[in-house]
């Protein structure tokens, strides 16, 4: 095992291969507070990449309802159970064991889902935690809670799937850090299915080899964001790149959100794979649950999120979500607009902080019709 630096754990950890950073790392930010679980992302992904024979139960992208939902069922709690109780130390240093460090006698600690685990992609939908007390009424704060968690492959910096593959059929692209399974090299040992703690590699029973989210790399190569990002009607997602070897740039929306303000957090960082999809935690969920899921910075992130309207630099970065299919490499917080630029510095999107209000007459003389103004 090599020693590698995992910045999400603030310490070194063991990994079967030496640390080798891609030129730039594909990164996503998902704002859970804006997700309505419409599954448009799920369908966009499914029809683009996983509509074939043998892929009937495969969803590279899915949206589940927490706390009960999970696709495949119990994907997270089973891994947590494998690792057992672990601890975060002072200064956000993870004191527990990652999936690469457990003494299970395996290279990567994991578990195998059953075919049936994939049968209910939306189990537990909209189910809240706990029961309503008799006589309870709504007084402004919900006692019981649920939230939607949109999930894709995390294109981890230290992928569990890659570490477990005995054939080295899984690789991480040097140009953008996308993790792929070589479809001609895989022999269907399903070690990756066992090892991935997010359960985002899937076994195809017809081709008998494993498949996973490809980060829409044909789009990425054209400078466009993936299907699940651009199809999101709630505009909860943004995709771009980060280079964690370099000092954070204030003009990169990702460095600003993830590394400078730390408002978006990795999902189960304690697994140790250094995932590259970052989540703004839901503001209304009990802290204990959130800390287990997103690590120790949850409270700060939520405070920041609640006060974002006062932080123009951060607000501007969030304004860019869902407003252009192009990949944003840098941005600027102008007086009234958030402006996004592409790799060569051309402006590709300009979003006003406040949408202008248009008052239209009730009677439209041109089309001879009445019109409703829907806010």
């Amino acid at each position: 095992m090599a020693k590698v630096k995992n910045w999400q754990l603030n310490r070194e950890m063991e990994y079967p291969y030496e640390e080798k950073k891609p030129k730039k790392q594909i990164t996503y930010v998902f704002d859970t507070n804006k997700c309505i679980a419409c599954q448009t992302c799920t369908v966009a992904c499914k029809t683009t990449w996983a509509a074939g024979k043998g892929e009937e139960t495969i969803f590279f992208n899915n949206v589940e309802t927490k706390p009960y939902g999970g696709y495949p069922q119990k994907w997270d709690v089973n891994t947590l159970k494998e690792l057992n109780e672990q601890e975060w130390g002072k200064g956000g240093v993870y004191k527990g064991k990652t999936i690469f460090e457990s003494e299970s006698g395996e290279r990567v600690t994991g578990w195998r889902p059953e075919e049936r685990s994939y049968a209910f992609p939306n189990i537990g939908e909209d189910e809240v935690l706990g029961n309503m007390e008799k006589g309870a009424f709504f007084n402004g704060i919900h006692d019981i809670w649920m939230f939607y968690l949109a999930r894709i492959c995390n294109h981890c910096s230290y992928p569990g799937c890659l570490a477990a593959c005995p054939r080295k059929a899984i690789y991480k692209r040097e140009e953008d850090g996308i993790v792929l399974i070589d479809q001609s090299r895989c022999r269907g040992y399903k070690e990756c299915v066992k090892a991935c703690p997010y359960k985002k590699t899937f076994f195809n029973m017809v081709t008998r080899v494993s498949e996973k989210c490809i980060g829409c790399y044909p789009l990425i190569e054209q400078g466009e964001q993936p299907r699940c990002v651009t199809s999101c009607i709630g505009k909860i997602r943004l995709q771009g790149f980060m280079e964690d070897a370099k000092e954070p740039r204030r003009d990169s929306p990702f460095d600003m959100i993830v590394r400078i303000k730390k408002i978006a957090l990795p999902l189960y960082p304690q697994f140790g794979t250094q995932p590259n999809v970052y989540y703004v935690p839901p503001v209304h969920v009990p802290k204990d649950f959130l800390i287990q899921m997103f690590g120790p910075n949850v409270e700060d992130a939520i405070t920041l999120y609640r006060n974002m309207k006062d932080d123009k630099e951060l607000l501007a970065a969030f304004m860019l979500f869902g407003n252009t299919p192009r990949i944003i490499h840098s941005y600027k917080a102008e007086e009234n607009h958030a402006v996004g630029y592409n790799e060569i510095g051309d402006e590709i999107v300009r979003v006003p902080y406040v949408e202008p209000v248009h008052n239209r007459p009730h009677w439209d003389a041109q089309f001879q019709t009445f019109r409703h103004n829907t806010p």
Partner: protein, 434 residues
């Protein structure tokens, strides 16, 4: 003058001491060889380059004995203690930890003596008695291939294995499907113990099969094996959490330099013939398609195949089989098949695949597939016949005259055996009988 005289005395005394030690040393080497072959040879060579671990030639002069003893017993303990040499070695060898060896002091000495003997320019190993004397009389003498145009072939380094399987000339064409053909009952059977694979990740922790029974016959261009092993469950289903029963036969491609029995090594290629119970099921009953396994499934549409739907004839998307998709070349949504992955073959002709390998994780399907196989599971027992093409002139396939090495691997699907999680039999001798 004085110097020369001293030299002579030294030389003489060295010779005398060597002669005195010769006998016990030879015994030590023989014992060491046995332990080495059972525990070390899968990952190490002596003078033939790196396999999984480093080449051990002259290791006894490179490192102190105490250090070697510590490393052999627990390399990881030494790595964790921060020993710079151990850490460097570990890093240089892809961080594959060498499994701990529970060996006595005497056994350690024997192994090191053996390695030393193989490293030395004048190898005392030549005086080593054969490890199992009972077997020697039945074994033919080493024959070099005189037809070979290359001189290199003259230097065959043949070491008798612990077990020898006799293959008898077949009197007729061998049909793999006739598992119980009369002639098999006349062939002598060999019982072989199998061990769990623990040299590399992923490992098989607990073995579920103890032994296999094997018989062999041959023709000029093929060798057939009839193998039986106990397996309480027949596992032939394709499923994310289920694994199938499998068996593999392995030959060295060249006898000049016998490769590691663990799937060969760099420069030491092996010819593998691999049978799988899922392929057996495909060949017996047709492809295990989604709608076959889940008859109540429903799917709205497979994009690109809409023209095959016919509501008037009640043909819906789930009725479109993988075989039809392959026939119509509409495999764009079947990435494995589209990429010509040999695992994703929909119309399989034989339940067996021929492959080559030169080390862990290097298995590659051969271009010419000639092997045949058939199997049957009955009352807790698999009976399998594999017919391996040999001496075909194809340089990715085994060729030999009257003897070679052969190794086996066995997967018990019911116990989640897959890939490296397997049982194995290291090289045994395969002796073609007249």
């Amino acid at each position: 003058m004085k110097k020369q005289f001293m030299k002579r005395i030294l030389l003489i005394s060295f010779c005398i001491s060597t002669m005195c030690l010769q006998n016990s040393f030879a015994q030590q080497i023989a014992a060491g060889e046995k332990i080495y072959k059972a525990n070390c040879s899968a990952c190490h060579s002596i003078g033939k380059g790196k396999i999984v671990g480093p080449d051990l030639i002259n290791v006894t002069t490179r490192r102190p004995t105490q250090w070697l003893n510590k490393f052999i017993r627990s390399s990881q303990a030494l790595v964790k203690s921060g020993d710079p040499v151990a850490v460097k070695l570990f890093n240089e060898h892809n961080k594959i930890p060498m499994p701990d060896q529970t060996l006595t002091d005497v056994q350690l000495k024997d192994i090191l003596a053996y390695i030393k003997s193989k490293s030395a320019p004048i190898a005392p190993a030549k005086t080593t008695p054969k490890p199992t004397e009972a077997n020697t009389s039945t074994k033919p003498s080493v024959k070099t291939n005189t037809n070979s145009p290359t001189a290199a072939k003259e230097k065959i380094d043949w070491v008798d294995a612990e077990f020898a399987l006799k293959s008898y000339p077949a009197k007729q064409k061998i049909n793999a499907k006739e598992l119980n053909a009369d002639f098999w009952s006349t062939i002598e059977a060999l019982k072989l113990p199998v061990s769990p694979q623990q040299a590399t990740y992923p490992t098989l922790k607990n073995p579920s099969v103890e032994q296999l029974t094997i018989k062999s016959v041959y023709l000029p261009k093929e060798v057939a094996f009839r193998i039986e092993w106990n397996d309480s469950s027949k596992n032939n289903e394709v499923d994310v959490v289920k694994f199938c029963d499998q068996f593999a036969v392995q030959f060295p491609i060249s006898l000049n330099d016998i490769p590691s029995y663990m799937m060969g090594n760099k420069g030491g290629m092996v010819h593998i013939v691999h049978w799988k119970a899922i392929w057996q099921e495909d060949c017996e009953k047709g492809f295990q398609d989604v709608q076959v396994k889940y008859p109540n499934m429903w799917v709205d549409v497979y994009p690109g195949l809409e023209s095959y739907l016919d509501r008037s004839k009640r043909i819906y998307a789930q009725d479109i089989g993988a075989e039809l998709i392959v026939e119509t070349h509409a495999t764009g949504n079947m990435p494995g098949t589209y990429s010509n992955n040999p695992m994703s073959v929909i119309k399989r002709k034989e339940p067996v695949e021929e492959a080559v390998a030169e080390g862990f994780g290097t298995l590659a399907t051969q271009e010419t597939q000639q092997a045949k196989a058939w199997a049957e599971w009955k009352e807790g027992k698999w009976t399998l016949c594999i017919v391996v093409p040999v001496n075909t002139g194809n340089h990715y396939k085994a060729s030999f005259t009257d003897r070679t090495k052969v190794a086996f691997a066995l997967w018990d699907g019911g116990f989640q055996n897959i890939g490296g999680r397997k049982h194995f039999v290291p090289w045994i001798d395969l002796l073609l009988q007249k």
